[in-house]
Point group: C2
Chain length 218, copies 2
DNA sequence: TTGCATTTCAAACAGTTGTATGAAACTATC
DNA sequence: GATAGTTTCATACAACTGTTTGAAATGCAA
């Protein structure tokens, strides 16, 4: 269908601009200029600006989740249904970090768009975001399998902290770069993933009580 | 001066609204309605909307930094110039977490405003934010004193991860609450601070390199 | 009180936003 | 090739944004 060319041109332009500048700074006129289509095309093909954003978010959300879950499934299958906790956490934070950091040509606008969506929480997205919760629950379940006996509350905090470190690294990479005067290499994506995974696993396996006891001994 | 009443009314209303709804969703008309002053008052007293935001940010930024540094100084003085790393990290994340979480009556709009400022990064703020870097360097220096021999790159990553966990907990407390179905108690501020501090210290002291060094000694 | 500076106010301004309209251009079917 | 349906386009619209204006009100010293 030749008519879909306009649709996809709008979607691509919108995703690129939103990923770069955020939702509040991008107007419909910016998008249609970038896509080389007429202003009215957005309302004709998507109904409204909000519906465009929503469609973009749903599409990319499904894709991202599929990527994470396929990586999770791979490591769990390899371990006969139970993966080491390192691998589970890597499946959780790896795809997004790889998509957002590293050399330019490897970055995906999709991943950076999703980070924007998680930051700005614009109304049309906020309504749909509840799906993510059920998606994260599947990771919580996998973590429980990897760490039998670990209290649920610690599982959730560990999951939360892992995402926190990954997202903040993407979001504020500039500050970290300035603060460390380039010492923290933000192009070394594998190194970053290792740091996030290691810190997450430590927080999960060295329970607070045990950790403080050890710290007091020292 | 009786004339300052309008100024402070505007500042308070703006801070409250920005903290609640974010910058992009609050207009000058919202602010003057909340402050019960005339629309032109903002431009008369502050020059422009951006200058209002900037003044707000500078004021609150100084206050927050002072609070953190006084807590840091207290623990360092108590230890003769060198505080345990737990105390340093606690001084870093404690004030903000206490100001943003916990029961309503204890929350400060100032702390929540600062979180908004760190999230949305609106132009008038982005220009000033570089000051924060030099402020964080003083914490990096304190961490170095607490952990002699710890490589600088690990200090910076530890500092970054600590702020990441604290900020994300504030920003996305709703998701964590839903995900854990209330299991993670977001009113237990001291418990949260302990978790963040513990996880940060673990990441700093049980680094992969440190672990191998310990193993090699053994 | 008089006179001057400061502060408030209603109204209007120019610019931008998302959306709607109706005619034109196109596409495919008969 | 005429026709019906789809898609594009320039243009207009109403709503909202931050800012400005000039007159009215207020405060305060002489």
């Amino acid at each position: 269908m030749a008519t879909d060319r306009t649709r996809t041109a709008i979607l691509n332009a919108a995703e690129r601009l939103y990923a770069e500048r955020g939702f509040s700074d991008v107007t419909l006129r910016d998008i249609v200029a970038e896509a080389n289509v007429n202003l009215a095309a957005v309302n004709y093909h998507f109904g409204s600006k909000d519906e465009l954003i929503a469609e973009l978010f749903v599409t990319r959300s499904i894709a991202t989740n599929r990527e994470r879950l396929s990586e999770l499934k791979a490591v769990e299958d390899a371990g006969g249904g139970r993966a080491p906790i390192e691998s589970v956490m890597r499946a959780l934070v790896g795809p997004t970090l790889r998509g957002c950091l590293g050399p330019d040509r490897q970055r995906s606008t999709a991943a950076r768009f999703m980070i924007r969506a998680s930051i700005e929480a614009v109304p049309p997205i906020r309504k749909i975001r509840n799906r993510e919760i059920s998606h994260l629950r599947r990771f919580a379940a996998a973590m429980r399998r990897s760490l039998p006996g670990c209290p649920d509350v610690d599982i959730y905090w560990g999951l939360h902290f892992a995402l926190a470190m990954a997202h903040q690294t993407i979001r504020d990479s500039e500050r970290l770069d300035k603060l460390s005067e380039g010492l923290c290499d933000l192009n070394d994506v594998d190194g970053i993933i290792n740091r996030v995974v290691t810190a997450s696993v430590l927080a999960l396996t060295q329970r607070p009580s045990a950790a403080t006891a050890r710290a007091q001994r020292a």
